[in-house]
Amino acid sequence: MNKGLMKKINRRNFAKIIGSAGLASTLGMPSLVFGASKKVVVVGGGFGGATAAKYLRKLDSSIDVTLVEPNPTYYTCPFSNTVLGGIKDMSEIAHGYGAMKNKHGVRVIHAKAKNVNSNSKTVTLDNGRKLDFDRAIVSPGVDLRFDSMEGYSQTATDKMPHSWKAGPQTALLRRQLENMRNGGTVLICPPGNPFRCPPGPYERTSLIAHYLKTHKPKSKIIILDAKEKFSKQSLFMSGWDLHYGDLIEWRAGTAGGKISRVDPQNMQVETEFGMEKGDVINFIPAQHAGKVARDSGLTNKKGWCPVNQVTFESTLQPGIHVIGDASIAGKMPKSGFSANSQGKVAAAAIVSELAGQEPIEPSYANTCYSLITPEHGISVAKVYKISDKKTIVGVKGSGGVSPKNEDPIVRRQEAIYTQGWYDAIVQDMFA
């Protein structure tokens, strides 16, 4: 503390400063005592954005944080498959931003961000309002590529729901399954890599099979896959054998799984071996980074966002960090857990940056649970670090999938931990 500052802080002022600071912190407002506070705008209130906003305030409560998210209620993609399987209700995957505002002192604006500008350091909202920032975090998730398949369009999703963003599309697919006849065929059509939540289509298959087995046992599910293999494949397939027998059929891309056209009008899709009809068709299209990232010059030719993998700052637009499914994050999968992990690292990097310090060497993690039945859980985990080439790589020897041929008691424990994980991560984001 220098002499000049000492002169300014005489006893009376000191009491004033302490008083106002106390009041400010009681109200959960950023402290304005020592100069203007730094502003961070977070775009997108999902697994990446909500986590980043909360942890920014947790790490440094002097930072002024604004979260921009169009929806007042957030439906989680994780556990949306339990809704499809009739195990949980939509209300159980719904979360709000009350604690974000009241407990963490984040300003929440329910609007759509149109553009994030690195030069003017402003976020433009769809209502024309502009928000200034010192640093921005963009966590836009994915958008579906309607141009990626012949016959597919926005209106096609009314007939063939993708349900790859939780909400009305989840409710629609659930309704279609409830209305389907016993003996009907469900087609599930996962895209090629990369896409959001690699084990997602196969957990979905499992939990829909659980519903059908219980309520409509003459029905079947055919997975028409664009790929030759998939996440946790042997665990899923042995689980399917154990619980569902021939209710589930999986076709690899080169074994007639690859689709060349969808026909929503006649509820069929075209494969190499001809047309395949479905009573319910869950077509999951290819994806790219959310619109605001594409409109702000944050994406590469393939539609994903290249970032410095130590800080998640965009390599295309300085001052803007991109996290979650939209980002290119080395070896990390596009998962809610990854987005949570990246949100914390980006928040810490920004706190360091605003304090004029070097970022700390980050550590990342991912653990993905999937349910094969409500009592049969499996997982895949990995710890990640920064390599010498400054990219994210898995720590050798860490993680991997649940063991094969494991005791049913362990599978049940993992099912209990699947719920435990969900309860914890939504608390870590929203509470």
Partner: protein, 101 residues
């Protein structure tokens, strides 16, 4: 004068803990990964064990047992192998200090 300076410093530390440690350390950063399953600050709302309230010693010895394959887990045995003994000490100290144990 020195007395006033000292009291300002103490009060500042009390009111603005961020002034002294504005940036998170590696221990905090490592420990943030745990929160996604064990809850923010290790306070689990559900089936996952809480880390908050456990001593540094307990967390360190549990993690080392998982790391060296002496304790069977469902997933922690796989996750612990992602951390060095030094990392584990930092994580254990972080959670121990949170709850003064």
């Amino acid at each position: 004068m020195k007395k006033i300076l000292f009291s300002i410093l103490i009060t500042s530390v009390f009111l603005f803990p961020n002034l002294l440690s504005a940036t998170p350390d590696r221990g905090a950063l490592l420990s943030m990964s745990c929160a996604a399953c064990h809850g923010t600050d290790g306070k689990s709302p559900g089936a996952m064990p809480s880390l908050y309230g456990k001593s540094s010693k307990y967390i360190e010895s549990s993690m080392l047992s998982f790391l060296h394959g002496k304790r069977k887990g469902t997933v922690m045995n796989r996750i612990a192998k992602g951390y060095s003994e030094k990392d584990i000490k930092l994580i254990a100290n972080y959670f121990g200090q949170l709850s003064n144990k």
